[in-house]
Symmetry: C2
Subunit: 420 residues, 2 copies
Amino acid sequence: MSEIEAGLIRNMAIKAKRAAEPLAATPSAVKNNVLLSVVDLLEKNKERIQRENSKDLEVARAKGLSSAMIDRLELTDDVIKSMITGLREVVALPDPVGEVFDMARRPNDMTVGRMRIPLGVIGMIYESRPNVTIDAAALCLKTGNAIILRGGSEAINSNIVLSEVLQEALAENNINADAVQVIPTIDREAINELLSQDDLIDLIIPRGGEGLIRFVAENSKVPVLKHYKGVCHIYVDKDADLAKATPIIINSKTQRPGVCNALEGLLVDKTVAESYLPEISNHLAKAGVELLGCGEAVRLSKSISLAKDDDWGTEFLDLKLCIKVVESFSEAKEYILEHGSQHTEVILTENYSTAQQFIREIDASGVFVNVSTRFNDGGQLGLGTEIGISTTKLHAYGPMGLRELTTSKFIVYGEGQVRE
Amino acid sequence: MSEIEAGLIRNMAIKAKRAAEPLAATPSAVKNNVLLSVVDLLEKNKERIQRENSKDLEVARAKGLSSAMIDRLELTDDVIKSMITGLREVVALPDPVGEVFDMARRPNDMTVGRMRIPLGVIGMIYESRPNVTIDAAALCLKTGNAIILRGGSEAINSNIVLSEVLQEALAENNINADAVQVIPTIDREAINELLSQDDLIDLIIPRGGEGLIRFVAENSKVPVLKHYKGVCHIYVDKDADLAKATPIIINSKTQRPGVCNALEGLLVDKTVAESYLPEISNHLAKAGVELLGCGEAVRLSKSISLAKDDDWGTEFLDLKLCIKVVESFSEAKEYILEHGSQHTEVILTENYSTAQQFIREIDASGVFVNVSTRFNDGGQLGLGTEIGISTTKLHAYGPMGLRELTTSKFIVYGEGQVRE
């Protein structure tokens, strides 16, 4: 990497930090006006955006990228419309910044509490889809954070034009446009530079394949919130209501198999396996799901073929499912501990104590009773939206909404108190 | 480092993770009983502990360590008593684990909320004082976390005997003794090994000098909560009540000058400087404080000598103070932004709007009005106790109490809901 480019990233981070300071104290109404200006400018500049986007599409086709990847890259009228809908939703959400909580009087009569504040500068590293540029910028601006965006190299022209729209919206509202910056080079070294600005950047969020996320986690000096993968399970307990179980399992596996909160492993208690496994495997097979199971599962249903050792715990992201008959709650728990990814774990049971034990003892970002795995999502859980899902525990565990883009400081109102 | 030692740290981390899992679901009463057993065992084993401690003291004397360092190392009867008092205080604190919050009904009738859980395995790296071994272990056990401790090499014999006491207390209460482990070697490579166990350890907390903390932050693959230094300021606003100001400033600077929440910089608004600077500098000089100031400060008081450029923003940890006359609130804010360490910033003012503006706009873990800087401390702010102070924003900002040693997972109680 040339020294000019190294200076470029450092300089962007310096400018972002400078922009973050006044942004932290900017009132909600102004931040919302910026987002509404983005809406206007997306509409006004649609043709220009699509023209830049078509440059990316041309390169992608010339490179022979898959049609799925090209689909994800394209900024169709519908994609732009959904970006606008997303912006309006973020405008409608309450602003967490400035919330004062845990305020209490101390014995010496000081009033002590906490005030929610932005994190500062956030670096976002993601692959392909250029709509993430708008989504991520909206969430960061709403929470008073400056953001530096590094999208996939395939989307570079699209991301640059979108950043121009974002910066124009900031300028229109007299906010320092450096609050949103897109890294204007596809040089991969720029990522390393970004990850080393630990005196200026407060958080890095990587979104993409496991390879990208591992690379970021291993090389970053800045704290990282990461999500490696979702290997989600449903445990059909001996006291499950099997009439409820079937729609939940089918929904978890088939409603959108390519996402992280889709079902990858089904554990069936041996007490109900004899009667229920043939039934559920028929339903799944009819829905086009390839079934891989343990010896006992294979014995109970012709639709199931024997799983290989490395099928267990695999994130298929496809119409494929591992099925295991377990002896007990304990064996299900052990299996989840070994093969789960601390993403989403579900028990199906009508037994009060078993449900409570599962909720308490299972370690995952989402632990659910009698619902689909597909609910582990910021929107579904009531956060309004999400910027990602964390499967590590520091700062955030599970879907990250607006609140997770903030921290809090201690505030004290005193009358001259000194320490004894 | 030999391969046997490398295997040693890995193995300790594996054992810690295994111990953490059942510990997470251990009831408060059992965890408190462990801490009460530690109290008993400290009393019963006092002589043995002091015998091992005297080995460390002997080595320290032979090495010619300063008497201050030897003082910090010694486990006198009083130090052991204060360890016991600390343990009883932790027993008395409420257990944050298991707290359920933000529970609400979703439109589809699922009940969704969060449950507070331990972080898992915590690695603690600290210097010298062996009482930290007991303090840190107590806070981690109370919050259901396993802990691996790496104290200073000078305290190795003391720390090993204290870990034996801790493990005996765990075993007495049928808890896996691997929940508390002290690294039994002074080989510095052990720290590097510890910092690379990111699949097993959830958090590293370094406590000590800036050099140690920078080393840990730069080399850790595990998330780190860190606190570099405390460069704390008081801004005497033009509307300050000067009768309140003097005791606050004296207390902030002199009550315990060697700690991170002691005052290092005093900013005085020019409107009050002429009358107040001579007065406060006399008080400070009488209290033995060496005063370094800007040209205007030097002009106003004979007790102040001209500061060198690199005095501004220095953490003296001593009876030394920088004094600057500022033109306005804005200049005070700029100065704090440039020289502060995001630790503690105080304004002295009777003006309502100025106080609110300071609280809102100043970025530090503690932002206070009309009180001593010395209140930025877990105990003083109502956390009961603290395991450190974070001056970075992810996960925790400011004093970290029991709650900061936990995270939360999403829990859902459903009745068969599937995603549309």
